[in-house]
């Protein structure tokens, strides 16, 4: 019997002679541990309370200021100051201060590669699965890893999602995730890893795979991972990760479930309140008026999301009654978008552009009040997530959000996407 990617990774990092069979509880040593400023100082305080004064493997620790950027509260300023001091004092290996959102940032800064086992304090740590790493959110348990370098876990089963074909114009990675969620309820995903593989995966860029893997947690799974194919290896080599090698599950590995998705048949979808699992076709929701639109987050703030949004908005304006906020996921994405002229285009169309941060995703900035609606590329739409409990959040791809920002209603972006393709063809013919 062969092994899944997850089993292979856990087999390497398990302590002792653990049998890495599904359901076994093992102790394992993460290769990389990340904590945002939200909680790092709080963990260290708790550890000091029990007499822990140093980190077990500080060189493997990344601390990231990303949730409140730029800082906008006195408490936040204190927290950041303490976080900076602690990161220095405890000699953490990687410290980023306002450089971007943890998960895309760790990939961009060449800290993640196929076969790695990463532990994150933040819920959306599974985004690193885009490059074939097993990245698991542990919340407060990261304190245990900081102190001991170890964590217990149960070896999870894997759900295999085989992708075939390629997405039509107007359909994006978000729609693949939402189509997956429509087939898998939380009873199916709980305690399991979702693994994306197949020829269709090769049509998706690494940032698109971050959307797939990062949102696995919102499908109720322990983590998400994608086959590290040649496209992934080439991407990582270009970033300066010489360790990157092809990595996949064995053909005869044991999977809990297999789902086949034909990307050619996918349509734009939207998660409606009260949770990401509630998925509808975008075109069914055209009566829903929106006041706010947001493009950003760890799952959808990549250069490709910004290109997609700019493509849809080209030749259009944001609706007079809509406030469109765009947040590039990292400073490097911000800079690249500047160089490509995307931020100018988006700004001229009427978007507000802000510094890289997780802020809107959890109601840290750009809050909604009662009766307002936002369509967003962020990760969750629980009531109250962005401010008022009487506000509604809809989740969709950058293209669907951009199209909706133009019309002021939830809008299937395919007509806009088709028009953009024609426009580009005319442009290149001219």
């Amino acid at each position: 019997m062969g092994a899944t990617m997850t089993q292979k990774i856990l087999n390497r990092v398990a302590i002792g002679d653990a049998v890495v069979a599904h359901g076994e509880i093992i102790w394992a040593v993460p290769d990389l541990v990340s904590a945002p400023e939200v909680s790092f100082a709080a963990y260290i305080k708790r550890l000091r309370d029990i007499g822990v004064t140093r980190l077990a493997k500080p060189e493997c620790v990344a601390v990231i200021i990303d949730h409140e950027v730029p800082v906008h509260s006195a408490a936040g300023a204190e927290r950041n100051k303490l976080t900076r001091e602690l990161a220095r004092e405890l000699e953490v290996g990687h410290f980023f201060d306002g450089a971007g959102i943890t998960h895309p940032l760790l990939v961009e800064r060449a800290l993640v590669w196929p076969g790695m086992f990463a532990a994150g304090a933040d819920s959306h740590a599974p985004g690193l699965g885009a490059v074939g790493a097993l990245s698991v959110p542990f919340g407060f348990e990261v304190a245990m890893i900081l102190a001991t370098g170890q964590i217990w876990l149960q070896v999870p089963e894997t759900i295999r999602v085989r992708l075939h074909g390629s997405c039509p114009d107007g359909v994006a990675a978000r729609d693949i995730v939402l189509a997956t969620m429509q087939q898998l309820d939380d009873a199916a995903t709980s305690y399991r890893v979702i693994e994306y593989q197949g020829a269709g995966l090769a049509t998706l860029s690494i940032p698109e795979r971050m959307t797939l893997c990062g949102l696995c947690v919102d499908a109720g799974a322990k983590s998400g991972i994608a086959t590290a194919d040649q496209r992934c290896v080439d991407y990582l080599h270009a970033l300066g990760v010489p360790e990157a090698q092809l990595f996949s599950s064995d053909a005869d590995a044991e999977f809990a479930l297999t789902i086949d998705l034909d990307l050619n048949t996918l349509t734009p979808r939207v998660s409606i309140p009260p949770s990401p699992h509630h998925v509808r076709q975008a075109q069914e929701l055209s009566d829903i008026v929106i006041n706010h639109a947001y493009i950003g987050s760890c799952a959808s703030g990549s250069i490709e999301d910004l290109r997609a949004a700019a493509t849809i908005l080209r030749g259009h304006k944001v609706h007079a009654d809509v406030n469109l906020l765009v947040i590039p996921a990292t400073q490097r994405v911000f800079q690249q978008a500047l160089q490509e002229g995307l931020l100018t285009e988006l700004s001229v169309a009427g978007a507000t552009i802000s510094a890289s941060t997780c802020g809107p995703c959890f109601g840290g900035i750009a809050q909604l009040t009662a009766g307002e609606r936002r369509i967003s590329t962020s990760t969750r739409n629980d009531p109250g997530r962005m401010g008022s409990h009487e506000a509604e959040i809809y989740l969709a791809s950058a293209m669907t959000v951009a199209a909706s920002a133009i019309t002021g209603r939830i809008t299937d972006p395919r007509a806009f996407a088709a028009a953009a393709v024609l426009l580009a063809q005319r442009g290149s013919a001219a």
């Binding site: 029990i50 819920s123 348990e141 709980s190 947690v217 949770s275 840290g364 629980d382 109250g384």
Partner: protein
């Protein structure tokens, strides 16, 4: 630490999300006593004021789904309330144990036999649940002994303290 609790049942539905337990806007707060004031505020405002140590949250399936936030479990630990639920996914399951919140996963016959406000005696070590109000005695599968050790130590930090070199 005793694994036997005695108190009232606070009954909740299926699919109580992490954000419903404590809003994500309190994500920067880590003081358990402050957090306990926010627990279940939007779902049931009187809970945080009235819950006593030994009381038990009785909820349906998929408890605390969504964000992997420690905050609800810090608050539950501070209040001294335990948890009976139909199911919970791995993130909240781990966090409950790490925070030292005693819990049992139970089937629907147990959930159906408990009404809000009834008095419960629960032995988390053996999995025995007594509905004192109705006199009915029920049984659930207890946590694995390894996980009970963490809960009994008072949570993961107290547990690792015993594993660290002196």
């Amino acid at each position: 630490m005793s694994q036997i609790s005695s108190g009232r049942a606070w009954k909740f539905s299926n699919d109580i999300s992490s954000d419903e337990l404590i809003s994500a806007r309190h994500v920067f707060e880590f003081d358990p006593r402050l957090l306990s004031k926010h627990l279940l505020n939007t779902v049931r405002p009187e809970f945080a004021q009235q819950a006593q140590a030994g009381d038990v949250i009785v909820a349906g399936r998929n408890f605390a789904h969504g964000s992997n936030h420690s905050h609800p479990f810090l608050a539950m630990k501070a209040l001294g309330v335990g948890l009976l639920c139909g199911s919970l996914s791995r993130g909240p399951f781990r966090l409950a144990i790490f925070m030292g919140v005693p819990l049992l996963q139970v089937d629907s016959t147990v959930l159906d036999a408990i009404e809000d406000g009834q008095q419960l005696d629960i032995d988390f070590q053996s999995g025995s649940i007594t509905n004192v109000t109705t006199g009915r005695i029920m049984q659930a599968a207890p946590l694995a002994p390894f996980l009970q050790d963490i809960v009994n130590a008072g949570g993961g930090l107290a547990f690792i303290k015993s594993r660290l070199p002196a």
